[in-house]
Subunit: 334 residues, 2 copies
């Protein structure tokens, strides 16, 4: 049995329901995930610098219909390109990609530093939840979809991570940064402690990147032993927004502020459900590949193995509930 | 009540379980789906001509991180772009886009003409089902996922539409052109009759385009009256390939072989389930927007309203079971 397999089985055993279904995705033969070891173009982290994205990672329709063929299937594009369109939004404090089918994001990426968290110019009482006009109307999540649904409008990039400007904080209130989340016991509790854990990482790392998003994971039906994905779809006029079964965070704790240094990687999968505060955060750690298989996304193809560390081996992966609860109280009074 | 709403309600009533869940998606305020009336660059249907795709329809990460911001969320791309990647495959008889999360296609597009269907150089007994090496291994559908799953490897572009060359037919056997389909009563019966209906359209139209793909539609739970999506996930080693609840076809019957003419559009949603042969095909007709809302895709943004007709108003939308059954028998003997 390979070390990778043992690690996965350990994660499954420890993670109970939460990590178990995600980890299944990596029960298959482990494979090389570092597809590129070149570190090319990126030499500066100046915000306005163009971001190098591999041509192979960008979706570009190419047509090479066989010459002499009696048909031209790509002629369809005369009527438009069907998609998927990723609806990439680059806002002040986040970059997001929207899933037009589930009306949730695919992923939302943020960046926090000791300096960014020390600035307190934004206050969430001045922010309002907003439908995202950058998404075509028929694919938008709507405010009325969440109304009386029983679910919180759960920030994927937390508002509290964007206190450095009111504008940046406002940007986190677009519904394209939200998923329906169980409120009490999850969004307002364990998930919030988890977000706080991410912020505390800046006490040790000068730069922390976090990618957050929803998952829709299968569960084995005890009746027929088959695996099924089942999730609710909430909506005002008609079912519109999927309720994820789980959420993931991929955390990149960068040892140096400039690019090129070592990166402590952590991947976590939590169920969209009440989680007791006593549950260790490490129970939800999963191999990065488990999140990749479950989401259909890839998170570190261009990060060479030599630059990777395992976050939970470098630092204690645990939530601090008591301290956080006190801060929440203080926050509510503010 | 608007005409559009009445049409949708009529479709829901007629379509029973099949169209009902799809049609819900268009119960909201109808909107303009023609976003562009320009017909630009497309002046020839020469297969090797470059296909014009609107820049706005192509996924291109753009970064405009605010100057002076203390963070740089798009710096994530240093580690690679998470996706979604559409895995567009352009093969001889089809163009497909693969969904890395469900391991099914998003859509597969084909083109048939009276001439293409008259050539009989390909025979399916010389073709084998193939895992698609163009998809990264961890996102591929595997042959073993289908093995003993109880589901057919259901062609989205039918092999029979690519008889004009053995190579083109072979291309339809990639698993990226397959979804798990109920065999008896569906893939081998009603769905096959439906495919035959599409081919028969070439008796009237000189050029027919068909886009086919899976849907995962919600159903109201009688217990709590909430809407849930529920689908099986089949797999050899672990759950891997989603079993769609429904399938759609969008049919473009072109009145002339050259671009620019009128197009009779038809959109259909069928459940992945046994369908009695007596069921009229017109029961499964839905507004195009219903397929768009359900799939997150768009199918005719660049087709002006003035060029559109409704397929089922132009021709009789019905399957011909008897004739087809005889042909199937002849086919089996071949």
């Amino acid at each position: 049995m390979s070390k990778a397999t043992i690690a996965v089985i350990a994660a499954v055993s420890a993670g109970a329901g939460a990590a178990a279904t995600a980890a299944m995705y990596s029960m298959r033969k482990p494979e090389q995930t570092v597809t590129s070891t070149t570190t090319t173009a990126v030499t500066t982290r100046t915000p306005s610098a163009p971001v190098p994205v591999l041509a192979s990672q960008v979706f570009t329709p190419q047509t090479t219909t066989a010459p002499g063929a009696p048909v031209d299937p790509a002629g369809l594009f005369e009527y438009g390109f069907p998609g998927p369109v990723a609806d990439l939004a680059t806002r002040q404090g986040l970059v997001s990609s929207f899933d037009r089918r589930t009306r949730n994001p695919h992923w939302v990426a943020e960046h926090i530093t000791p300096a960014s968290l020390s600035i307190r110019d934004g206050d969430r009482k001045h922010s309002s939840f907003l439908e995202d006009p950058a998404i075509p109307d028929k694919f938008q999540a709507k405010l009325k979809d969440y109304y009386r649904s029983g679910y919180d409008r759960g920030h994927q990039v937390p508002a509290a991570d964007c206190k450095w400007s009111q504008g940046a904080m406002n940007d986190t209130f677009y519904l394209s940064n939200m998923c329906p989340q169980v409120g009490e016991g999850f969004n307002r509790d364990y998930w919030a402690h988890f977000e706080d854990f991410c912020r505390r990482l800046t006490q040790r790392y000068p730069s922390v990147r976090i990618v957050t998003g929803p998952l829709y994971l299968p569960k084995r039906d005890p009746q027929d032993s088959k695996w099924y994905v089942r999730y609710e779809v909430i909506g005002g006029a008609a079912p519109n927004v999927a309720v994820p079964t789980h959420f993931y965070k991929v955390i990149y704790a960068e040892e140096q502020a400039a690019p090129g240094g070592k990166v402590a990687l952590g991947a976590f999968v939590l169920p969209n459900a009440v989680i007791p505060n006593e549950k260790p955060l490490s129970d939800f750690e999963v191999p990065l590949e488990a999140v990749e298989r479950a989401s259909g996304l890839e998170f570190a193809n261009k990060l060479p193995a030599a630059r990777r560390k395992r976050l939970c081996a470098e630092t204690s992966c645990s939530v601090m509930v008591k301290e956080y609860a006190e801060r929440q109280k203080a926050f509510a009074k503010k």
